[in-house]
């Protein structure tokens, strides 16, 4: 490896090193704030190092990883999201008793896994990244060992993630057995020159890959674990699962499809189309009946992945842009939603029932305004980034003449409005007679975070042009 390779890998190296530094620090002296600060510094330095890595991009570092603008863009997204998660975690655990420093170590490892995913061009790095991410997540979900729900959620996630990894491995094995390569870039040629697109091995292998990825993305019919894990995990960890973990997989899948000309596999595309439709309908339908905010958001995130897959099926340059934009929006809104749930949590108890938010508009207008903005963005209402994101997804769908999928997306948007508005209505309605539920105050860092997220939500909703340009420049690497 040359020094250029090191420059290219610098962001990932910094993340790895900082996890070791935190580990050593914890070994010497436990201090929650110091551990938090170290992880924050690690993430920030890694984020800055993206620019220096950008000077040598694109750079293939070993056959496993490629550091191109595409990977750097998603790494940047992941790092920023992780900074948000770290701040949320700090606020969440501040008054928690017992060991809490270790979560920052596993958080950094999970970020590393995600970073490897978005830059991998090889089945080995794909699997490696995925496992690093997943195993860290087991720990993060079950981190609050003293409570019952996190443990249950952790075990659930462990079993299902292990099963999905098995599917993935089998899929990789089938593809390797038939085509004799683990490189994404070689797969397309081998398929074309060898067995052809309709070979049983290629189709089965791809289907198993999709199954494995589907579990991580929590799309229907692989979504069963989502509500329980979302509900059981501590809110900051839920935010991490919903954003960083899913975002990494989407970025990887997209690269895989573009590199292996997956868009020529019609059967697979049809299957993804069905998954998209099922995710939209099941997610929205089940979200309608939830009384628990975290479960509601879990089902809503299933539906949102369904919307995303509509653009995925469409394919083409517009779709890549739409997916990237939508992911950014999805990150901001999801972090905002779980961020509020997490910031309002008191030691040992989260405010998860819709009833807890009744009258919030009048007791804590600013938090309620932020939550409303997040909900409206999830619903795709103008002036919020969600509107522009949904617009781009619909644009991608129409550009590929996927009118059927687009119409179903429209129908689902209308259904989804109902439950998003339900939360908004609950916040608006005055608590009649009985005492308003008293919610705890939030710290300064929490306030700043919410201001930042809401500001980003509105900025990208009103003036999306710079972000669109950035995405267009960054995505050129894979088109």
């Amino acid at each position: 490896m040359s020094s250029v390779d090191f420059t290219a890998l610098m962001p990932l190296l910094i993340i790895s090193v900082s996890s070791v530094i935190i580990l050593l620090n914890v070994a010497m002296k436990r201090n929650h704030f110091v551990s938090f600060l170290l992880s924050l510094i690690g993430l920030a330095v890694a984020f800055v190092s993206l620019w220096s890595a950008g000077t040598v991009a694109p750079r293939q570092v070993t056959p496993l990883l490629i550091i191109d603008t595409y990977a750097l863009f998603f790494m940047g997204l992941i790092f920023v999201a992780s900074i948000v998660v770290a701040i949320l975690t700090y606020n969440y655990l501040r008054y928690h008793e017992g060991a809490k420093d270790e979560i920052y170590i596993v958080l950094m490892l999970a970020v590393l896994g995600s970073g490897v995913l978005v830059s991998s061009t090889h089945f080995a790095s794909f699997f490696l990244g995925l496992e690093v991410l997943t195993i860290s997540l087991y720990v993060m979900i079950a981190f609050l060992r003293s409570s019952e729900f996190p443990l249950e959620a952790g075990i659930k996630y462990l079993i299902l993630a292990a099963a999905s990894s098995a599917f993935l491995l089998l899929g990789m094995a089938l593809l390797y057995g038939e085509l004799g390569t683990l490189q994404f870039a070689d797969l397309a040629d081998r398929i074309a020159s060898g067995p052809g697109e309709n070979s049983l091995f290629v189709l089965t292998g791809t289907a198993l890959l999709l199954t494995g990825a589907g579990f991580k993305l929590a799309v229907v019919p692989f979504h069963m674990w989502t509500p329980d894990v979302y509900e059981g995990a501590p809110a900051p960890v839920t935010a991490f699962i919903a954003t960083v973990s899913k975002g990494g997989i989407v970025a990887l899948l997209l690269r895989y499809f573009l590199l292996t000309s997956g868009y020529s596999l019609n059967t697979v595309l049809i299957a993804i189309g069905f998954i998209a439709v099922a995710s939209m309908f099941v997610g929205n339908y089940l979200a309608l009946m939830q009384e628990n905010v975290k479960r509601l958001l879990a089902y809503s995130s299933i539906a949102h992945l369904g919307y995303l897959l509509v653009a995925f099926v469409a394919g083409g340059a517009l779709a890549v842009e739409a997916i990237s934009y939508y992911l950014v929006v999805y990150f901001i809104t999801t972090l905002g939603a779980f961020g509020i749930v997490s910031l309002l949590a008191e030691t040992g108890s989260e405010k998860t029932s819709i009833e807890d938010y009744r009258g919030l508009f009048w007791s804590r207008p600013w938090i309620a305004a932020a939550f409303t903005a997040v909900m409206l963005s999830l619903a795709g209402i103008p002036l919020t980034a969600g509107f522009v994101g949904k617009f781009f997804v619909v644009t991608a769908g129409v550009s590929a003449a996927q009118y059927g999928l687009v119409i179903l997306l429209v129908v689902n948007s209308a259904i989804a409005l109902y439950y998003y508005l339900r939360l908004v209505v609950a916040m608006l309605s005055s608590p009649d007679g009985e005492e308003a539920p008293v919610l705890p105050g939030i710290s300064l860092s929490g306030k700043l975070l919410l201001v930042g997220l809401t500001g980003a939500l509105i900025y990208f909703g009103v003036y999306p042009s710079p972000l669109v340009q950035l995405i267009r420049d960054m995505m050129a690497a894979v088109l």
Partner: protein, 531 residues
């Protein structure tokens, strides 16, 4: 730039009203009032300074334009333009804005700042809809005005407000998304033809679209607009939303939000898809006629005064739908006139109901009666507005509905005949309102004060405008004419008019009509009818 200010003034005013509402509720009322008066003055100045006909010939069809890039990567821009139709609608918006701020002066007592913020942002959204010439921008404003309206109903509404607000929101949002798909279909069709990505209305207007696709795209727009209009059978959100909204909300819903639907038909459906629009014209006219009768019959069956007035909107907007799809200038003028006058007369009635409800806390007409004795001024105003609403000659509504009917008569006699019956029904329910609330025996002895000076001033201004439009509608007709003629020319291609042969799209629908005339109607006739 002046166009941008029309939108920016209410936006800024709304934010200020919210901020200062915390200090003193009265301050936020005054800020809103001043903002809307400024807006009105601006609109009137534009009206006086830009005689429609001259300007249109010079500037490619727009009195004023404003253009700035927004998302250039997708061909999206801040593109506003003003022609006669939008000018009239903007005037109506600003006027009803002032009226609704005044109407909620003593009506709204809680969360005053946030109320005015929502109110002004709706007005900004509506103004944006009337001015946007970029289809993305149009959709943006179309959706943007829904949120504050939703809050208005959900927070300050009456008993069933949450249900009504959500129903309103889902109906309009779902239909709006269909329009978005249609907009994108048009966008990509234009791209395939020219290789240029743009949402610019003036660029898209000439796009040649395969006829089957044009029909689908047109339906996307059509559905969004008739839901807003509303036409039967997609009107069911309207009675709920109108009934449960606070007074200012009802005034804006009836006076402006419904008009955005009609405006969309004028601005987008007819010019962008002339042939497809011609194909569904008979169907649309039948929908209009059904709406007129159905709305009137249901209005007659209501006991709730506010709900009654809500149903009359369904009936009146039926005339607008018929007028728009009659495809001649006379009917277009009628539709525009009806839109304006309905906004004023129905808005006035809603304000009266609001005042009554505020004092006696019921809208049940069975419990009213004989109110004239205690509140003669209010009775007289209500009488006048009811007369306007039933189409008494000499008042603006008469001019509107009469022109629409004359225009429609030339293309479709059966529909016109049915629609005329609606006028009789309108007489019945309008007199019924007066009879049951202000005349007869006093069923319960209500003590309520008569109209205050402020409300009297509001009512007087509405009454004066209605009389003015009834006796001398020429300024309005003149303002709208060039824009309407342009739309009419777009539907009947010029080459075919010169050849004196009917447009194939038109003749197919009208072949069974003995009185169908292929030539455009004599433009002078509108003026004569009006004056």
């Amino acid at each position: 730039m002046i166009l941008l200010w029309l939108i920016l003034i209410p936006i800024i005013g709304g934010v200020l009203a919210w901020i200062f509402g915390k200090v003193n509720p009265l301050l936020s009322r005054w800020i809103s009032l001043i903002a809307m008066i400024l807006d009105l003055i601006l609109a009137v100045v534009i009206w006086i300074q830009h005689p429609a006909q001259i300007a249109l010939e010079n500037q490619g069809g727009w009195l004023l334009q404003f253009q700035a890039p927004w998302i250039p990567q997708y061909g999206i821009g801040f593109y506003f333009g003003l022609d006669g139709i939008s000018l009239l609608m903007v005037l109506l918006t600003a006027f009803l804005g002032v009226v609704s701020v005044l109407a909620s002066w003593s009506d709204i007592r809680e969360r005053v700042g946030f109320f005015h913020f929502n109110l002004l942002w709706i007005l900004a959204g509506v103004t944006g809809v009337f001015l946007a010439l970029d289809l993305f921008l149009f959709y943006f404003f179309w959706e943007m005005m829904l949120i504050p309206m939703y809050f208005l109903i959900a927070i300050w509404g009456s008993a069933n407000r949450i249900y009504s607000a959500i129903k309103f929101f889902i109906f309009t949002q779902a239909s709006g998304l269909l329009m978005l798909v249609a907009i994108l279909g048009l966008y990509f069709t234009h791209f395939q033809n020219t290789g240029v990505y743009t949402f610019d209305y003036t660029e898209l207007i000439g796009t040649s679209i395969p006829s089957h696709l044009a029909m689908w795209l047109m339906l996307g727009f059509f559905i969004a607009f008739v839901v807003k209009l509303p036409a039967v059978p997609v009107h069911t959100w309207l009675p709920d939303a109108h009934t449960d909204a606070p007074t200012a909300g009802s005034v804006i819903l009836a006076g402006l939000l419904l008009k955005t639907g009609a405006y969309g038909l004028f601005r987008f459906v007819l010019p962008l898809f002339p042939n497809a629009a011609a194909q569904i014209a008979p169907f649309a006219m039948i929908l209009g006629a059904v709406g007129i009768i159905y709305g009137a019959v249901l209005a007659f069956a209501q006991n709730d005064l506010k709900r009654l007035i809500a149903y009359t909107s369904v009936s009146h907007l039926g005339f607008v739908l018929i007028g728009i799809f009659a495809f001649n200038e006379l009917a277009f003028q009628g539709a525009i006139m009806t839109m304006i006058c309905h906004g004023l007369s129905t808005g006035g009635l809603f304000i009266l109901v609001g005042i009554i409800y505020d004092k006696i806390h019921t809208r049940d007409m069975d419990r009213m009666g004989g109110l004239w004795e205690s509140v003669p001024r209010m009775g007289a105003v209500a009488m006048f507005l009811a007369m306007a609403s039933l189409g008494l000659p000499g008042l603006g509504n008469f001019v509107g509905e009469f022109l629409a009917l004359i225009g429609a008569f030339q293309v479709n006699i059966p529909v016109t005949a049915v629609a005329v019956v609606g006028l009789v029904f309108a007489t019945v329910y309008s007199l019924w309102i007066i009879q049951r609330t202000f005349h007869g025996e006093q069923r319960e002895s209500w003590e309520l004060p008569d109209l205050s000076i402020r409300n009297l001033a509001v009512m007087a201004s509405m009454i004066i405008i209605l009389i003015w439009l009834g006796l001398f509608p020429k300024p309005v007709l003149d303002t709208a004419r060039p824009a309407l003629q342009k739309i009419e020319r777009g539907i009947i291609p010029i080459s075919q008019v010169e050849d004196q042969t009917p447009n194939p799209g038109m003749s197919r629908n009208l072949s069974d009509n003995p009185l169908h005339i292929a030539e455009p109607v004599n433009h002078n006739s509108a003026e004569q009818e009006g004056t």
